[in-house]
Each structure stands twice: as structure tokens, then as C-alpha cells.
Symmetry: C2
Subunit: 327 residues, 2 copies
Amino acid sequence: MGISPLDDLADLLKDDMDAVNALILEHMQSDVPLIPQLAGYLIAAGGKRIRPLMTLACAALLEGDMTRAHRLACAVEFIHTATLLHDDVVDESDTRRGKDSANIIFGNEASVLVGDFLFSRAFQLMVMDGSLETLKTLSDASAIIAEGEVLQLSTQNNLETTLDDYLSVISGKTAALFAAACEVGPIIAGQPGDIRAALRTYGQALGMAFQITDDILDYSAVQEQLGKTTGDDFREGKMTAPVLYALEKSDSEEQSFWMRTLGHRQQKEEDLAQAQILIQKHNALDSSIALARRYGDEARTALAATPDTQIKTALTALIDFTIDRAY
Amino acid sequence: MGISPLDDLADLLKDDMDAVNALILEHMQSDVPLIPQLAGYLIAAGGKRIRPLMTLACAALLEGDMTRAHRLACAVEFIHTATLLHDDVVDESDTRRGKDSANIIFGNEASVLVGDFLFSRAFQLMVMDGSLETLKTLSDASAIIAEGEVLQLSTQNNLETTLDDYLSVISGKTAALFAAACEVGPIIAGQPGDIRAALRTYGQALGMAFQITDDILDYSAVQEQLGKTTGDDFREGKMTAPVLYALEKSDSEEQSFWMRTLGHRQQKEEDLAQAQILIQKHNALDSSIALARRYGDEARTALAATPDTQIKTALTALIDFTIDRAY
């Protein structure tokens, strides 16, 4: 077994992931050279390919047609890549996957348009597959992703944001695609509604745990020790779980701090450290981890209905692995 | 009959356009308030709804199921609206349909994301319709639109751009959606391949003529007399037909002028007037109109194969009307 359940899945599905990577390269081609240049820049930077891996794993778990799974996994990755390109424009990001982000190198304009291209390509791949069920699942997910992103924009810098608002945001922007990526597996395998619903729930809950953990890491001292970037969410005034839990218990002086730094985005050099101190003081990272664990439990329960195979073992281990990144 | 073939079509298809407008309002709704606010702002500003009208007209011409046509016409308009929102971000536009553009009022971020939402909604509508053929036609068109837009970005400010490059750009960014909007009609009506190909060709050629005429109008003195904006393409350094024809015949001093103003975008107050003088000197508007007329002829020929009805009369008249705007 590998060093992580993701490695285990990638090992178990190595030939399939190779096929998906070949399809990604093939379908990002265009007669317009800037398109493969920009798409290739982002895709070559790697990333964990966790969403297409979910599609492959859920299809393989139920002995679905893997040729169809390859194509649909590629569509899932293209939808994800399109949202990354658009996110970076929206967030005015300057790094992605440890490199300058595409909008910095190629400009916002090209990032928006190549995102549109990849999104269209994803639908072309689904049409090639020819299943209206997968088209429905992934077009519904795409609309929900956009809604989640717009809601995030509305809650940004807004200290009235509730934990429910936050959960709606991440359910849209992250969990919807995890859910759809997993649901494609049982659709391909022609599995009955309860197995399909179970894997959809697994993906949805795993996605929630994944995003909450990402949001924890953005305030984590551990990340800093590893030399990774922290504080992106803080700088952008995103209302994430660690902040919401700290805000809930804050006194009036602390409220003024959050209002200045997140509400008005008037930030000084030392403010991120101060934010981390307040988050620590109110055990807000622990509360966030507990929240992620509740989704982890939901994901684990959902898997109970599926066949016991090596893939299920890895999908189960992936739940804790996703959350344990927070330590 | 109305004052224009567009009015005639809108009169002939009044109940259908009312149904499409109701669907547009219904399907731009979302629990995230910013989405209908922003989408409604752009959609309420009007626009000619020419693309959904094409879908309705081509479906009605062949006696297709109009309930299906309503839904697919709404999808076509959503794809168009999404591209407008993204275009305005890309072009850093500040007006659209005579109002402040959405990116100015709501921000670039929201424009990108609401565009993504409308694009996803378009695919949801196509999935509801349930035809893989229309899904293929419109997802292919969407990919080609994005390619055209990226190619336009690559040719902008580039004086090496050829007329063929220009034709590729407008074929993608404009004609592809006209072609697909028309092709949906025969698909719904279950018409044989030659009628389908004919209406596709009509839409493609009409779209080319439409965009060439738009590009003429951006340098037209007539437009200025009507108080409409001119010079947008000039300011952005877009390489359109009037410029390309003028450039072809330019002497070295004129070439320096174009290189400074379009190539390097170093523009002074009086440069637009000077550009218009050079375009006039080389009869570049006439050459552009002749180009548009060639596409008009192609569109007219394509219609020959279709049934003789009032709608066909209006679709035929629409060709000259589209180009006569240039005078």
C-alpha cells in the first residue's frame, strides 16, 4: 500500500488514471494555440486529480464500464479546471499549485475564455458518452457550483455570515462536484437508486470535509512550518469555519478586529498572526475539525451499502486522511 | 408587416417569443439573490433576442414542436448572455445595450460567475429537452465560441492578422451560435439532413454578415450621426474587416499610424477620426460591405431548399436588413 489512501487509489486504478490523463491531453487541444498553452500550464502543474479519481473509483467499485468512466472522469476534471481558472480571476490570485497562477501569466481575459472552452469541452465529452443521466448530474452540479461561488462573493467581507451560509457556500463550490463525480460511477454501472444515492452522499460529505479542512489549513501553523501559503482566505475576507467559530465567541474588541480586517479588509502585516491567536484562543480550529469529522462520519455511513473491495477500503481510509491533513 | 423583418418575425412568432421570455425569467431565478439581480439587469436591458428568434423561426418554418423550441430558444439566449457577460469582462467594457455594463455595476467577479451560472442553466434546459442531437449542436457551438474569443484575443493588437484570421474569429465568436440556433429548428422538426444542413448554413452565413456589419458600424459616420457609440473596436485594437482592408492598401506612413494606434494602443483624441479618413480613402467600408453581401448571398441560396411560407419571406428579408444597417 502507498503512503496515503489517494496513492492507494491511484495504484489500484493506475491504468485508468493513465487513460484519463491521455484523454485530458487529447481533448484540451485546439487549433488556437493559446488554449492548450494555458490549459496545459495549469494541468501540467499537477494537482491531486482527486475528482476524476473519485469517478474512476466509484465506477470500478461497482464494476462499471471503465472506458466510459475515463471519458467522464476527464469531463469532471475539465469542469474543475474551468472553475479554478475562473476562481483565480475572481480572487485575483497570484499563485496556484505553487506556481504563478494562469491569470498572472496569460491574463484574466485568456483565463476566463479558456475556462469557458474547457467547460464546453466537458459537455462535449458527456455528449460523446451519450447518457442523459450523467449530463443531468453534471449540468446540475455546474449550476450549483456557480451558485455557491456567487454566494461566496455575497458573503465575503460580510460579518453577518452564518455557519449555515458558509455550509451552503462550500456545499456548492466544492461538495457538489465531489458528489456528482462519485454519482457518475453508479450511473455508468447501472446500479439501483439506493447505491447511487449512497455514493452521491459519500461524495457530498467527503467534499464538505475536504473544504472545511482546506479552510482550516489556511490558518494553520503546521502549514506555515511546511512552508506552504496561509492567510489567502484572511486577505480576501472569506468567512470560513475557523473565523465563524472565533467570531461567535468574540468580545467587542475582537469583533472590531474582525470587522476591520475581514469586513473592511484594512489589514496590517501582523494581523494574520493576531487572527491565528484569536482562532486558537476560542478553539475554533478544533470546532472546525469536529465539524469536518461529522461530515466524515456521514461519508463513512454512506459507504456501508457498497461492496467490500480494496477500493472501498481506500475510499473509507480517504475520509480520515482528508481531515487528518489539518494536523 | 412591421418596419423590419425582425419585427415581422417577432409578430409572426409573438406568442412563442412571449413564452420564451417567460422561460428566461423563470430559469434565471436562484436562491442566491445576486444571480437574478445581475442576469435581470442585462436581460431587462433588452437586446434584439435575434438568436432565440432564429430558433423559433426555423422550428416554426418546419412545423416543429414549439414547446420544445421555447425551451431551446431560452437555452440559446442564456449561452449568448453568458458570452456577453464574459466578453464585457474581457474587453473591460463600460457600456452594453446603452447602459453601464454589468461588470461596472456588479463587478467582474460576479459577471464571470453569473455567466457560468447561465451557461450551466442552458445545459440544464437542453437536458430537460432530452435530445442528444441538440446537446451536441449547442455544446459544439459553445466550444467554438470560446475558441473564437481566444483567437480574437491572440489577434488583437496584432497587425500581422490576415482576413482569414478575422473570418475565423467571427465564425467562432458570432456565426457558430447563429448556425446552432437555426439548426435546432430542423432537429426538433425531425427534418432530413439536407434541410438541417441548409438552415445551419443560413445561420452561419447570416451570422458572418451580421458581425461584419457590426464591425463596419463601429467606424461608421452614420452611427455617430445617430448618437451611437463608435470606436470601441479601434480603442481595443481589434483587427476587423474595415481596418484589414485599409491596412492592405496602406503606405508606410499609414502603416505607422495603424501600428501606433492599434498595435501599441497609443491613441490620441483625434486618432479615431484619422482612422475613419484612412478607411474612407481606401474604400474599406465598401469592401467590407461587399464581403458581408457575399455571405448574404450564401444565406439566401441556403434558404432555397426550405418551404415557402411567411416565415421564409421574413428570414430572406432579414439578410439584406442585417447588412443594410451599414448605411
